[in-house]
Amino acid sequence: METVINKTVLYAYFSGTVTPVQKKLIETWLAETENRAQYYQWLHEWELAHLQTAPDWQPAFSRIETRLNTPFRVIQPDEEPTRTNWFWRRDYAWIVAASLTLLLGGWLFVDVIRYETVQTGFGETRALTLPDGSTVTLNANSSVRFNRFGFGTQLPNYLSAIQPSRRVYLTGEADFRVRHLPNHQHFVVLTPKGLNVTVLGTEFTVLGRARKTQVALRSGKVELTLAQKSEQPPLTMQPGDVVVLEPTGQFARRRIRNPEAVAAWKNHRFTLSKPLSARLPPCSKKTTVCVSPLHHPNWPPARFPARFRPITPTTY
């Protein structure tokens, strides 16, 4: 093996003109410690034959001599800055890590910080007063979300036209009693299906669940718009109107005689407009009210529309 490696091969190697196989052979050859001396000798010779610079050794040598004669001059101050440098770099890493965590946390919890959310569970209703004095009654399995800061503050006209500060995101069903503010600020209810209810001050009920989106107006005036662009023009409701958002994205308006009935759940009542039939949906966790199709022989025959009080009022 050794016979393959000679000065010519190594010279070619230093000049970068050997084959990978030759390089591998050189590597094997270098594994022998005694060959290292040979290697460096040839490297030295090659370097002398291919000098790139010819610095004067005398000044460099006298510099080293002076350095050697003044001991510890360089070593000592050299030690310190590297240490502080290293220390600072470490500190810096901590600062970066902390601020990154803070940023990420802020980004993840921006909704929690910005909005206040009120939620009701199964079979629970809750009344709450918004910062502007309006009251919201939440039906079961519903939630409202509104700005924690600056709800109802006066914004410049051009801004409040686009995004009024009185904004409530509703999922589920809720009854609103909106205060008319002196500065005529709009109040907007946003539902998951993209139906927005814009009002000044009035009483109405909004249902915004996955199965149905519906608005019932008791008094005053509300305007319905859709968040997405659609051919459906904005609709102004009159008291007693009930508007359902069709799956096609159109409004279906009808009039009812007793709009109060739509919000009967507020007083823990519910209304059946016609007799329950076998089409009754099965009880599930999703439904707010669970009706059992039992009939007691002693009960008087019901007249419709009939109002019921839940059998177990304690759950309310």
Partner: protein, 226 residues
């Protein structure tokens, strides 16, 4: 065969010693018998002889890594200084040449790597005093390949870029001076230099990827986490 010519060195006969102006530079090459005898007589003289013999080729070799005259000379001087100061010359088993070349290459490589990929934790001082026995064949090959890659990269740079790079580094000119000399804008000069450096950086990123010199990496790693 050369020993007859070189032996008078301890007697400080500089004329007989093959100087840079020697007509046959190959004559300088020899086993280091005469340096050993000089060291045996007086370490000071031996050291001086060593310096005289190797300073120039070592600088030239270092230049292949760092491409900067001043840095190359600093590195070589520093190796000599440590070599003398730590008394390493007394414990050389192999040749002085092997030690000096290995140390200089090691330093030059680390210098360039740190310059291009950011500083690392400083190595403990004893790590600087490496002996040739510590060097694996892979390390030697890696250093040689690095030299060749650097050369190739600089070779393949566009002419103007290469010119600017060499003026900036090898000739240590200021960017403003180069700009005036070549009649280019300062921005162009900076772009040329950063392009060259970016190309060179690839070498070390490649090495990092393949975990070059495990022992060295572990040493650096240990320092990092201490």
């Amino acid at each position: 065969m050369n020993t007859t010519r070189i032996r008078p060195i301890p007697k400080q006969d500089a004329d007989l010693y093959p100087t840079p102006h020697s007509d046959r530079p190959a004559l300088v090459v020899d086993n280091e018998q005469f340096v050993r005898t000089a060291f045996a007589q007086s370490p000071d003289e031996g050291f001086k002889g060593l310096f005289r013999l190797y300073y120039k080729p070592l600088c030239s070799h270092t230049l292949r890594f760092v491409y900067r005259q001043d840095v190359a000379e600093d590195i070589v001087s520093e190796v000599f200084y440590q070599f003398w100061k730590s008394g390493g010359y007394a414990s050389i088993q192999n040749t002085y040449r092997a030690y000096l070349y290995a140390a200089v290459r090691h330093r030059a490589y680390n210098y360039l790597r740190d310059e291009l990929t950011g500083p690392r934790a400083p190595l403990p001082l004893d790590a600087v005093m490496l002996t040739t026995a510590d060097e694996s064949p892979q390390t030697i090959i890696e250093y040689d390949e690095t030299v060749q890659r650097i050369e190739k990269i600089i070779h393949e740079l566009p002419t103007q870029c290469q010119r600017v790079f060499l003026m900036s580094r090898f000739e240590c000119q200021k960017n403003q001076e180069i700009a005036e000399e070549l009649g280019l804008s300062l921005k162009t000069i900076e772009a040329h230099i950063s392009r060259a450096l970016r190309q060179l950086r690839q070498i070390f990123l490649f090495n990092l990827l393949f975990g070059f010199v495990a022992a060295q990496g572990m040493q650096a790693g240990a320092c990092l986490y201490l």
